[in-house]
Symmetry: C2
Subunit: 505 residues, 2 copies
């Protein structure tokens, strides 16, 4: 058994609309059927399946060279990051079970496990529910999966095998964490998260529950998800090396840490690109961090380039007050330099902007937004701090950096600043991040209206200001690099707003 659409990857998106793509999956399906000839093994495969010009998301059982069971996915998710109704048809809710030896088995394809409607049509006892999934990682989702699994166990009065895709594609991370749950709702087998593996679970094990000692840590999973996602993206897109611009601040520090944990110090190059507005403290912090991680750091002052460009533009800008333009120029020189290095050495530039900044447009398009992978674009500033603190105290086997306490307290505690003009602080322009992040969570993740946000203790004025900033920066996010989804509402496939939009809350 493999997970949902393991042959094609998930989601195959518009590749599914290509006949040649479907033909190729058909070819591999046929090969797998042949492989089952004269063997005892039954192969379970879930694959796009064209029947009379209609495409289904179908599950097959192959045995001794032929198909012995087949069902089409009947509940197609079409919300959040999912667009299955764009591609697949259904044939209504199936009510079939597969009988193997003496066991009655119910096969579910992903969303069917989550659907009350599906359950209500299938209220029958069985021995095993086997659920094949491609369930994207989200913070706190594993607990929800377990809850839903228990609901199914009650419905079918059955043991349950939850098999989840492990891997990643673009923004989506599939965390694996397959498990077997017995009739009592106890997890009798727990597969790994973020690593692909083959498991054989015997029936004996299912009847024998040993409570796991491992504590489940959300921050550990979140950090691991980012490491895993970056590692995969690099590998899949054939990059060996990554580069990062360090500002001395906490966002680029976290990105550097994650990248080093994913690739090893030898595969990361960092750059410090100071201007006249860069503090000596920032420089000290950036250098210290790179040194601790044994990562090469190059210092390229943008000061003379900044002056040069301002000079070339002076005939146009003469007499006009300085404004965001001059700040953006600095950010864009940095982007230009980093992209040049990325091009020359074929290394992936990691964009270091966090979700709070991206949400309100506190970032420069073609400047700090440059990059092939926007590593923490779904992590609010307050989560950035949490993750840094967590990593300072923890170390997992698969992290390439074998140290803790790498990121200094100075980096963690100092007041956030873009250092694009004298004495600039983020708080000059934005509400404090602890306030901002809570309002953003309301506006973006929960879609709250203004009165319910006000009930949480925020002023109408601040909420409206934040909404306006979110709305006015849709066009920037539209051009932002892709990055790992880790929340319920990420900026890539999850959240789809018109750029041209005058709705006011």
């Amino acid at each position: 058994m493999t997970s949902e659409l393991s042959l094609t990857g998930y989601p195959p998106q518009d590749l599914l609309l290509r006949e040649d793509f479907i033909k190729k999956t058909e070819l591999y399906k046929t090969k797998l059927i042949s492989l089952s000839k004269n063997k005892k093994t039954i192969i379970v495969l879930n694959v796009p399946n064209n029947e009379k010009g209609k495409l289904y998301n179908s599950l097959f059982l192959f045995r001794n060279g032929s198909i012995v069971f087949k069902k089409d996915k009947s509940i197609l998710p079409n919300y959040g990051v999912f667009d299955e109704k764009r591609y697949f048809k259904t044939n209504g809710v199936d009510k079939d079970f597969f009988i193997y030896k003496e066991s009655k088995i119910k096969f579910l394809i992903c969303e069917e496990m989550w659907s009350d409607d599906y359950m209500s049509h299938n209220k029958k006892n069985c021995d095993f529910v086997i659920s094949l999934n491609a369930s994207p990682f989200e913070l706190k989702k594993f607990n929800i999966r377990k809850k839903i699994a228990k609901k199914n166990i009650q419905n079918y009065n059955s043991n349950l095998i939850y098999l989840n895709l492990v891997g990643s594609q673009d923004d989506l991370i599939f965390d694996g964490g397959s498990f077997v749950m017995n009739r009592k709702g106890q997890i009798v087998f727990q597969g790994n998260f973020f690593s692909d593996e083959e498991y054989i679970v015997s029936e004996n094990e299912i009847n024998c529950f040993k409570p796991s000692k491992k504590k489940f840590d959300e921050l550990e999973n979140l950090y691991s998800a980012l490491v895993y996602s970056l590692r995969n993206y690099m590998h899949q897109n054939r990059f060996k090396k990554a580069i990062i611009g360090l500002s001395g601040g906490i966002d680029s520090a976290l990105c550097l840490m994650i990248t080093a944990d994913a690739l090893g110090s030898e595969n990361v190059n960092s750059f410090f690109l100071p201007s006249t507005y860069t503090s000596s403290e920032s420089k000290k912090d950036a250098y210290q961090l790179a040194k601790k991680l044994e990562i090469d750091l190059k210092d390229i002052s943008i000061e003379s380039m900044r002056k040069k460009i301002l000079n070339e533009l002076s005939f146009l800008f003469e007499g006009l007050p300085q404004n965001i333009t001059e700040e953006n120029i600095q950010s864009r020189i940095r982007g230009l330099i980093l992209m040049a290095v990325s091009n020359k050495f074929n290394s992936l530039l990691i964009a270091t902007g966090n979700k709070s900044e991206l949400a309100v447009g506190y970032s420069t398009l073609y400047g700090d937004m440059c990059g092939g992978f926007s590593l923490i674009k779904d992590i609010y500033k307050s989560q950035v701090v949490q993750l840094v603190k967590w990593r300072n105290e923890h170390l997992l086997d698969n992290f390439k950096i074998r140290e803790t306490n790498v990121i200094s307290n100075n980096i963690i505690c100092k007041e956030p600043t873009a250092e694009l003009k004298p004495n600039q602080k983020d708080s000059d322009t934005l509400p404090n991040y602890d306030i901002l992040d809570k309002i953003l969570e309301h506006i973006i993740d929960r879609r709250s209206d203004i009165s319910s946000i006000m009930k949480s203790g925020f002023s109408k004025r601040t909420i409206k200001k934040v909404w306006k900033m979110v709305k006015n920066s849709e066009y920037k996010r539209y051009q932002s690099a892709i990055g790992p989804k880790v929340s319920q509402m990420s900026f890539d496939k999850d959240r789809r707003f018109p750029l041209t939009n005058k709705f006011v809350i």
Copy 2:
């Protein structure tokens, strides 16, 4: 009567998932109901409609303060640019007619007109079919609409009113062109394209057919669509002025022409940003064009900035061969300069890349791809030439430039070059555009497999090369600015491919 979802704009996208948004539409619906009090007028409104927690795309008739007819859209498009199943539910195919005085009227909401299934459930004679639409403009779509309208007329043995949204939102252009077709399939009334207007059509007119003299010209409509789309985007997003970087080539020439036609010369600023690789011919052509259009042109050489930046990077790049990096640096300096001007003067930067370039990644991310609106991103190079030739010969009332033959033959005929290194020609890297565009049309617009493309006379090698270029530039397009959809398969909402994707044709 207004067109589909005229109150909210189309598509409202994830605004529909906000309760406060739905409540606000409900509020305006209630206001409109009140407005109908003590009046003879019946108001027809199509609006998102929440019923017991489920959202429908519903049509209402208001008369004298109450709702006299209601239906829910039963066929929800979920392909191409459409995602209606993400938002709306259906209640199955409705079979209701509205009776007004002696007339039997069938109301259709957009996709219902296009659905054979819907028609087969509604095979009944009536007097009027009234179809409310938000049908995005595509080249040649008007003819398809007429064909579909005729099919409906046969099915219902009825006159038909086709009412289409006019306006635009982000990438989507709604061209209007509402019409009334009589039982014989003759258009007895034709509304304007690309302009909003109120029409009153009497029953007498419907029975009296006068053939229209106006010839329908696809290139005229295409050019008008671009002018209209830019004008709307500027207005909706509160920009008065636009800027364009001129290269002396045909793409930026066309963009300048369209922009000037949309906004008037006084609202456009152009920039010529030469380097050492820029030919004197390019300079002459750019200057001549700006002069003819009476558009301000500023000359900002990037040469000293280019040298400065290469100098700053020389300690890193020393001993390495020149490659695409040095070309990208030039393009990115231009992007930086134009964005600085855009920021300082609050003018929208128009990106001038065409569909052929964008399709194969022959463009620089954060370089020539910079901009708020990518005006010709859905226009292949061969169409660029066609449009320029068309505009040189034609002039419409709503074009601000009152001249023809503005773009010189030299610009039209010279060999395409990016001028980023000595003697560079596009054909060094790409197949000739007449070949490339045909292959791209196969791969992108028609989703053809390799054998059918080979049947059109192209070599396997070239097709595979083009496919690879298309695949490897998904990440660039992902970060490209939004721009008007004019083909069946644009790069914004239409075409959704994984960036990480190893499928080979």
